[in-house]
Symmetry: C2
Subunit: 497 residues, 2 copies
């Protein structure tokens, strides 16, 4: 099949270009000298333009046409289906709209930075309205009969296969359950924090040690510093992590390492044998996030994990006096707070549900930029139970909207939900899980994730991949049960029966 060979050759080329782009972005956030910033912008813009040109090439459409009219094996069929979906979105926007979006994102980001700095929404209102108008226009081009709700057309960029029809009732139930849980914890005394001063070099060694124990392959990756930790799958054999360290906050940096490690393990486990089809890529942002959250929260904040960790800490800092129980308490504080990125494992999802409900209203209803500050405050009062004193800690707190990222937020809570049910299935298959965690024997966990999630790549959409593992389990019930069990115990509260 010439069309198949041509198509996969082109995809490999796009992968090589994408890898170059990813390395330049990694470097931008790790080692790039400050004065290189302007030139780096030009380099990235060119690589992205070349990538877009080569992907939207009419030849790609013609190969897909031919393959759709050909007898294909099941793997090829999925590959062609996914590629058609991506190709359609890549070619359907008029050049004018693409340029307007790029400009609006640029303007929006600048206006957001200034507005947040000034703690005043007014300067951001017009640029944000522009972004919302263009996104609505974009939705008109993206939307197919499969997108029952206009917002579904945006979700497809991040979590193909997820829909408002499925997310809304799930998120509503979750919000209700979390409300009950937080009401039980409200006003209870927190465990003490852990703020021992620990040298950065030792923290770095501990992070490396934990990653190696988790099964992260240092021969095919690395761990560097970055102001905002991230992970990046540059290529097969080249999956890089970043983290950060603070002398008096070991748990925060280590949490970042484990979170990014979870992402990295997923990328390292993708099926490289499917190179050239894009089936060797992550199935969705939500599934990606399920991997990071699984390791960061389910494993990394468990009491057995701290039983594993304390001896490794004391090997580095022999004089350190700390117990697993202290770390466990310090790492599992629950509190209704205003800032998403600092939120605990439970409250975090309420932050996401606020943004989801507003975004759905923007695309399904009539919500405009000027309405957002009030709608935000009202949603926080109702859903999170706190009220931001000013825009900086309210509607202006996140960068996403200013960069035109609409439809992205649900992935975070989808990740938590997926992780919760995956964890329960893992516990069923591996009843001595916590014993193994306590002894740093993470290999069976990784092996389990590898066969069920990582190795499937994007051979199906994430909801299907997850459903194949969890069957008819209810992720909301699993997440809520986990939170009651872990944090309820820490706070001495029990689930009302």
């Amino acid at each position: 099949m010439q069309a198949w060979d041509d198509l996969t050759t082109r995809i490999r080329e796009l992968d090589a270009l994408g890898s170059a782009n990813a390395l330049l972005e990694w470097d931008q956030q790790t080692y790039m000298p400050p004065r290189a910033a302007d030139a780096r912008g030009d380099q990235l813009a060119l690589l992205q333009r070349l990538y877009h040109e080569r992907f939207t090439d009419p030849a790609v459409g013609a190969w897909l046409d031919q393959l759709e009219a050909t007898e294909l094996d099941p793997t090829q069929r999925v590959a062609v289906h996914n590629l058609r979906r991506k190709y359609r979105r890549a070619v359907c926007l008029p050049t004018r709209l693409v340029e307007d979006l790029a400009k609006a994102r640029n303007d929006g980001f600048g206006a957001w930075v200034a507005a947040k700095q000034a703690d005043d929404f007014s300067g951001f209102e017009a640029p944000l309205q522009r972004l919302l108008d263009l996104a609505r226009e974009q939705v008109e081009f993206y939307r197919t009969p499969e997108h029952a709700h206009p917002y579904d057309a945006l979700l497809e960029d991040y979590d193909p296969g997820s829909t408002v029809a499925e997310l809304r009732p799930m998120f509503d139930r979750l919000a209700g359950e979390l409300g009950t849980f937080l009401a039980a914890v409200d006003g209870r005394a927190h465990a003490e924090g852990f703020d021992a001063r620990l040298d950065i070099d030792g923290q770095k060694r501990l992070s490396q040690r934990v990653l190696r124990d988790m099964g992260y392959d240092m021969q095919g990756g690395r761990l560097d510093l970055a102001a905002h930790p991230f992970s990046t799958g540059i290529a097969h054999g080249d999956v890089r992590l970043t983290t950060r360290y603070e002398e008096d906050n070991l748990l925060s940096g280590l949490g970042s390492t484990i979170h990014e490690g979870g992402h990295g393990l997923y990328e390292q486990g993708l099926p490289s044998r499917l190179a050239g089809t894009w089936l060797n890529s992550a199935a969705s942002y939500g599934l990606h996030e399920s991997q990071s959250r699984f390791w960061e929260n389910f494993v990394g904040r468990s009491l057995p994990f701290y039983r594993y960790l304390v001896p490794r800490m004391q090997a580095i800092w022999p004089d350190l006096a700390v117990t697993p129980e202290q770390l466990y308490g310090a790492a599992n504080r629950v509190e209704r707070t205003l800032i998403r990125v600092e939120a605990d494992e439970a409250t975090y999802n309420l932050h996401i549900i606020v943004r989801f409900s507003l975004e759905v209203e923007i695309f399904g209803g009539k919500l405009q930029a000027r309405d957002l500050p009030e709608a935000w405050t009202e949603a926080y009062r109702r859903i999170v139970g706190v009220v931001p004193p000013s825009p900086k800690t309210g509607v202006l707190q996140d960068v996403h909207w200013s960069s035109g990222l609409l439809g992205y937020f649900p992935s975070y809570t989808l990740g938590n939900l997926y992780a919760a049910s995956l964890a329960q299935c893992l516990l069923r298959d591996l009843p001595d899980l916590w014993h193994r965690v306590e002894h740093g024997d993470f290999a069976p966990i990784l092996g389990w994730l590898r066969t069920r999630i990582h190795d499937r790549g994007h051979t199906a959409d994430a909801p299907v991949i997850v459903r194949d593992v969890i069957g008819d389990r209810d992720p909301v019930a699993d997440l809520v049960a986990h939170l009651w069990s872990r944090h309820g115990a820490v706070y001495g509260v029990a689930r009302p029966s």
Copy 2:
């Protein structure tokens, strides 16, 4: 002028692609995980192909045609002249020859690695012969009436404007003078080496300190580790250096740092206002090397430099007992040795002259691969005064030929010669030079190089740029005088008058 705008836009694009390529290569030698090697090869091959396609695009030729028929300002005229020369070479080779060369280089490199390992030339002979045949064919395509000697057509890749007619008598005179000098030093006692064990972290801080004092801009660059130190001008504001450290060999690592620092200062000083014309690039490999050798040898091995250095060393290692005179002696040992990359400042040039004489004979005469081991031994006996015991330390010692790099070697000695005369002119313009060096006041040196060399970029070929500074000075005489003055003093020998 539409053609000028189109051409400079294309050059900027090529620069952005070239920058991406350079970053990938930098990463390959610094931070890339081992398992990324295969994917990196694909990425580099693609970027290089895209670069070649966009440069050899017939549109580029058409813009040059139009501009050559247009009234241009002098800067544009030089830019068009240089670009035509490069374009002509990029398009003149038949695809078949380009592919054959790529394959022969790949095969040649593999065969060379194996042959050197086995210390046996025979396995390398056929692949080398193939490379020579293809290079001769390449010369036929490259050669223009300006290339009086076939080898001139190869020199143009590295040192445009240099010719056999000019280099041969210069190198012959230099070989004679160096022979006299080495005969005087032969058998004299060497100064003691310097092998104090000094921790790597301290060596790193010393290297950073020296680079900053030299005027290297750390906001537009960085210093990293690499097995084989190199520098790379990735983009304006992004000029990176690498070096290496050995605990018991401070001088070697520091020498690498200063050498690469010299390259880096040149790159940082190139005229960025000329972006889009390639006049903002180095004029030649030889001129580039003159900058690194000037700093490494003329400045960095001088007694005043060690007077500057010792207090900075003692600030890092307070208990270290060493005098400037000790370092000066240790850094200026002269000896007829077999290995080019380990050779001293004097003997080094004889190594280059051997390779130059063989390469000229390959392209101007009938020398074949099978003749090279014997010709090599004979040339070493005659020119360097030593005889390699086996191919590993003889004809197989350098990688260049195995990668098809023919015409490259002269740049090294050209650099030494340029540096010698530039140094004498600098001393004339800045009579208190050594006093300043002793006090770490390198700014006037850098300022002098900036206006005379760096800022000219490639607005003229290197021989012209150098001649504009040194007038009718004789670089051979300047280099030889410098060697007698520095090493003669160390060895207690005087130039016969």
